[in-house]
């Protein structure tokens, strides 16, 4: 490997980010080339120097500043909806809500049916005896009217047959 080629690869060699064969070739070249050794040292030293730029410390109240800034930027209804969604509309909680609503609906239907039965019984309790008997035997009463109508119908049939015979 020539010096020009090696010098191009030295920055990545420093990061140990070369293919194994390239790395080996460079190591072999460096073992006998003082110029490239000096070049590698210059790369390494300048890279190490960067670490001497020490970190900036955050302001102590950065967290409270963040929440204040966020509150100022967020319209009240957006915060409310977000809180609602985060607290009450997660998949797990949504399942619980739907189940609760279904149970409530079923309970209301059962209660309604029960109260209707109770209402009918209360009405029956307050009716005079004759009307209760009539209701209990409503089918008989309806059939009696049918029978009465049937007698009339039979008379009509007889009359019709007589008319037809006459004609």
């Amino acid at each position: 490997m020539q010096c020009e080629e090696v010098k191009k690869l030295l920055p990545n060699f420093l990061d140990d980010e070369l293919k194994p064969d390239e790395k080996t070739d460079i190591q072999v070249h460096l073992s006998s080339c003082e110029v490239c050794q000096k070049e590698l040292k210059a790369y390494r030293n300048s890279w190490e120097l960067l670490k001497q730029w020490s970190d900036l410390e955050p302001q102590p109240a950065y967290l409270s500043r963040f929440w204040t800034e966020l509150a100022l930027r967020t319209p009240w209804y957006t915060s409310f909806l977000r809180e609602l969604r985060l607290r009450f509309l997660t998949p797990k909680i949504a399942t619980v809500w739907i189940t609760a609503c279904l149970l409530l609906a079923v309970s209301i239907l059962i209660a309604k049916h029960y109260w209707q039965i109770q209402e009918v019984e209360m009405v029956l309790t307050n009716l005079p005896l004759e009307e209760v008997e009539l209701i209990e035997n409503i089918e008989l009463a309806e059939n009696y009217e049918v029978i009465q109508d049937m007698d009339l119908l039979e008379d009509l049939e007889v009359l019709e047959n007589w008319e037809n015979g006459k004609s």
């Binding site: 191009k8 690869l9 920055p11 990545n12 420093l14 990061d15 980010e17 210059a42 790369y43 030293n45 300048s46 890279w47 120097l49 960067l50 670490k51 001497q52 730029w53 020490s54 970190d55 900036l56 410390e57 955050p58 302001q59 950065y62 967290l63 500043r65 963040f66 800034e69 966020l70 930027r73 977000r82 969604r85 985060l86 607290r87 997660t90």
Partner: protein
């Protein structure tokens, strides 16, 4: 067969920071604060070294975390959490740089130290008998700062992520949305530039 995005989501779900973010997604604000404690200082220093302005760095870091907070509803782990946060930080820094209309510093640009005093690299003064170590130290930092900020934005990003955040080449590539080969090339050129610009310090 799961789609690649589903596979990625499952893969990155082992990242503890991703789990914290997903916990925050379910409503646990304490998880968000944990993430903020962990990343605030790192993001602050990335932004500060990128922009070079201490007065803007805190404001910009707050903006980064506001964006993180507001993205919670649509957050889907497609990378490590730190990759995602530093992508946001990098984009915010680039936008700020455009606003400031800076591309690079010249070596004669007046820099400030942490106390806000103007700092200019001094020529050697033969009359000085006892060197002021603090001043020399500040000058050194000023030269390093100048050298980094003289780099083009992409080289600067790659250097900051590699040197100060110790990102792998793959992580840098994901953060910058480029290939690993491109990262190798960027770092190679950046190191060449830094070697030249910091040669004065290395000679001393």
């Amino acid at each position: 067969m799961p789609s690649s995005s589903n596979r990625d989501s499952n893969y990155y779900s082992s990242d503890p920071d991703v789990l914290l973010m997903m916990d925050f997604q379910k409503g646990n604000k304490a998880s968000f604060e944990t993430l903020m404690h962990k990343y605030y200082g790192r993001v602050l220093n990335f932004v500060y070294r990128f922009i070079g302005r201490k007065d803007i760095a805190e404001d910009l870091t707050q903006e980064v975390f506001i964006k993180v907070y507001q993205s919670v509803a649509s957050y889907r782990p497609q990378a490590k959490f730190q990759t995602w946060v530093f992508t946001i930080a990098r984009n915010a820094s680039l936008n700020e740089l455009r606003k400031l209309n800076q591309t690079s510093f010249s070596l004669d640009e007046t820099l400030e130290n942490e106390e806000g005093e103007a700092l200019r690299p001094q020529m050697e003064d033969p009359k000085t008998s006892l060197p002021d170590i603090k001043v020399l130290e500040e000058e050194k930092i000023a030269l390093i700062q100048t050298a980094i900020q003289s780099l083009p934005a992409n080289q600067r990003t790659a250097v900051l992520l590699r040197r100060y955040e110790e990102f792998s080449y793959e992580e840098i590539a994901k953060t910058m949305n480029c290939s690993v080969e491109a990262v190798k090339s960027l770092l190679s050129r950046a190191k060449e530039n830094l070697k030249i610009k910091l040669s004065k310090l290395l000679r001393d």
